[in-house]
Amino acid sequence: MAKAVEQIDNVVIRFAGDSGDGMQLTGAHFTNETAILGNDLSTLPDFPAEIRAPAGSLPGVSGFQIHFADHDILTPGDQPHVLVAMNPAALRTNIRDLPKGGTLIVNRDAFTDRNLEKAGYTANPLEDGSVADYQVHEVPLTSMTLEALKEVDVTKAEAARAKNMFALGLMSWLYTRPTEGTIAAIQTKFAKRPEIVEANILAFNAGYAFGETTEGFAVQYEVKPAPHPPGRYRNITGNQAIALGLVAASVQSKLPMFLGAYPITPASEILETLAGYKHFGIRTFQAEDEISAAGAALGASFGGALAVTTSSGPGIVLKQETIGLGIALELPLVILDIQRAGPATGMPTKPEQADLLNVMFGRNSESPVPVVAAATPGGCFDAAIEACRIALKYRTPVFCLSDAYLANGSEPWLIPDPEKLPDISVEFAELPNGGESGFLPYLRDSETLARPWAIPGTPGLEHRIGGLEKADGTGNVSYDPDNHDFMVRMRQQKVEAIARDIPDLEVDHQAGADLLVVGWGGTYGPIAAAVRRVRAAGGKVAQAHFMHLNPFPENTGHVLKSYGKVLAPEMNLGQLSKLLRAEYLVDVIGYNRVRGLPFRSSELAEAIQGML
């Protein structure tokens, strides 16, 4: 009995279950199916705290949301249309996000007294009318999975664990996803355990078949592919994109990469990924702490490597003294800050964008440093390359900012042609530059103001550098007052002058708009989606998003002053606002929420409407 197929243009689905229920994997498979089908998509994994919570408990709930559409989309969606809840705890923590009338699919088998109690329910919500406002599908996922696998030679626990594949099969049917990719992926993943492969595939197929046959689901939905620019695509998370961007920077600079890192959520994955790319000549060093990670990277930079160090807020703070040394030494160093919610340890798995002022100012004395920030998961690739480019060309530490949302969120990514990536190679000094004076390590390039990079091994250029103030030119220790003033200004000027070497701030202007919405970093998607909404409702609003936060693009002042009002939504208490206000004396108004969650475009749309 073929069911009716209904065309829809976008859906947001959230998979939620216990940490042990495999929700992230389920989401990943579904994402791949969706990507291969050609929808545009955006995902948001929502990890619980780092530590494992007891099975069935509220803090143990893990979620994965995917938004896919037949047109280009910008966010993982404010609210799900469909919630798949694998247990009572998942229902409890997620149901408030499901709008009335939304579809709720629950694993009825998991609603045992014990699980209900763990989730803090005093009565069964499936029975007491709490879910009456939703289209509820109670599916005995566990028992149907067990039934489907009864012939397979796996333990009962293993069989029960395949219930996520049953749910995946059901959802794949419901949204007419292609299933080959998932089956192939299961085969590879469990290649060493054929019985597990069999169990998973059987469960998956059973779920799919259940959809086809049960009467509970009357219609099947279809979301057509989205019109993407032509090319080869893959789905990518921000952390993956950063790792690839760094590899690309190493290749495009013809420099071996040295990564100094100390594990920390949500940045560890970059270390882990790069540790797998040793055939690119990449050295990854897991240091004893962040200070050593930064120090080792700086040492490698002195030796001529493309030096990188990665961390998140608390670790970045520890690196700052060494970064200050890098500023004094004027050596290239790329520092990646994958921001998370703070202060102190904060909420390590949750996104926030509150490290901007710290990366700008978190060192003693005047120690300017360029800052770039990625706006989308795929954009992390470009941001990483741009940070490397600036660091190498200007011989300076450069911060590159991402956050926990970009790091783990994913989107389809048009794979760049390596041939078309920028050449970011620079030259090492090979000969003395000072005439009679021999080699002058602080004699600058008149255009970039960068000093020569003379690496050990180069005969005749032996020299000493250090953290004490240095005389212009010779680099010898100097306590001369005027020289100090000169050097302080020179370091500042070098960074400011980079403004000439970066693109202007691009404005998505709309005729008649008097309100400009500015943002930076991972809020790009929600802001852009909100702007679309407002425009669709007839509002007039312009948008601009900063990739370069220090220096700002040259036209920034002009842009800001072209509008009567400027709104800056930030997942902090107003850090970009502060910088713009101080620099341009423009009354930038903040919209600030610090919830450890990405913005919803609906709330931003409301904020924008409120200012029209």
Binding site: A35, H279, P418, P456, E462, G466
Partner: protein
């Protein structure tokens, strides 16, 4: 990054002298400071290493001792307090072609830099660390250090220090050091022997040098610096004074070297000098280079296009 290195005397090794290792910077320590003698010894023995100056790097933190790189006509970095071992780890690991030396003080290496030191030692990174131990903070004008004796009256301990000091060699051995030695600033001949041994060692070489700070801690080592009869010069295979021990610097098990490190002026009225421990263990830079080679062997030289296109991809026409 040996690809980038310049020819190490490929065109004929130039024979250098001590003078070639002096810089144009005026040496600035207090008159009478033990640092002068160490500098002279290092500059004096450098030529015999047969390594061109451009292949040598001296890295230091902050302190009187840490001024050292400014006076060596090699590559050098005067970094920040305590971090030289970390910086040297990055440099030495990514540039196996260099001869990397760290110069540090007892505060720099054992106080603020203690963590980097012990981790470098266990990793066996290919650099040599010279610890100028003067049992005081010289540069900041005389506070006690982690090697100062209990009861020491200093600027920050007007009633005497409470902190039980580190024995730098015991600490290093406890941290899995492969090479551990001790020398005296003014005993140039022996110091030179020890430096030579350190230079030959593959991996981290830890050398404690008793250094007199005549301004803030004058005479701290007189018991052995002045009184030669209190010196127990260690020689591999030879008995150690009248301790009944026969010295085996190559013993895999560090227990004996540790026991030797406990022979001090306080316990025995004598102080062992020389190489306490010198064992072979894979060196960090080589291990890392091997993995890089193995990866290339297994997977071919990295191809960016292939990497970008790896995994599930799809084409849009």
């Amino acid at each position: 990054m040996s690809e980038n290195g310049q020819s190490n005397g490929g065109g004929g090794l130039i024979q250098l002298t001590a003078k070639d290792f002096k810089t144009d910077q005026e040496v600035r320590w207090c008159p009478g400071c033990g640092d002068y003698a160490i500098l002279a010894a290092v500059q004096g023995f450098m030529p015999e290493l047969g390594i061109q100056r451009e292949r040598m790097v001296f890295i230091s933190g902050i302190g009187c001792a840490a001024r050292f790189p400014y006076y060596m006509q090699t590559y050098g970095m005067h970094s920040i307090h305590g971090r030289a071992p970390a910086i040297a780890t990055g440099l030495a690991t990514s540039r196996p072609d260099l001869s990397v030396w760290v110069v540090s003080g007892d505060g720099d290496a054992l106080s603020i830099g203690g963590n980097h030191l012990i981790h470098a030692l266990r990793r066996n990174v290919n650099f040599k660390l010279l610890l100028f131990n003067n049992e005081i903070y010289g540069l900041t004008k005389g506070q006690y250090s982690p090697t100062s004796k209990v009861g020491k009256v200093t600027k920050s301990t007007p009633m005497g220090s409470l902190d039980y000091p580190f024995n730098p060699l015991s600490l290093a051995i406890g941290a899995e050091a492969t090479f551990v030695a001790r020398a005296i600033d003014t005993d140039r001949k022996h110091l030179t022997t020890v430096l030579r041994r350190a230079a030959e060692h593959k991996g981290t070489a830890f050398v404690e040098i008793y250094q007199n700070c005549n301004i803030y801690n004058d005479g701290a080592f007189d018991f052995v610096r002045e009184e030669e009869e209190n010196r127990l010069y260690l020689e591999h295979g030879q008995p150690v004074g009248d301790t009944g021990l026969v010295h085996d610097e190559r013993a895999e098990d560090p227990a004996q070297a540790f026991a030797l490190s406990r022979i001090t002026w306080e316990t025995h009225g004598k102080v062992p000098l020389g190489v306490f421990r010198a064992v072979q263990r894979p060196v960090y830079d080589e291990l890392m280079a091997e993995q890089l080679e193995a990866a290339v062997e297994k997977r071919g030289v990295g191809d960016l296009g292939a990497l970008l296109n790896a995994g599930d991809t799809w084409e849009i026409g």
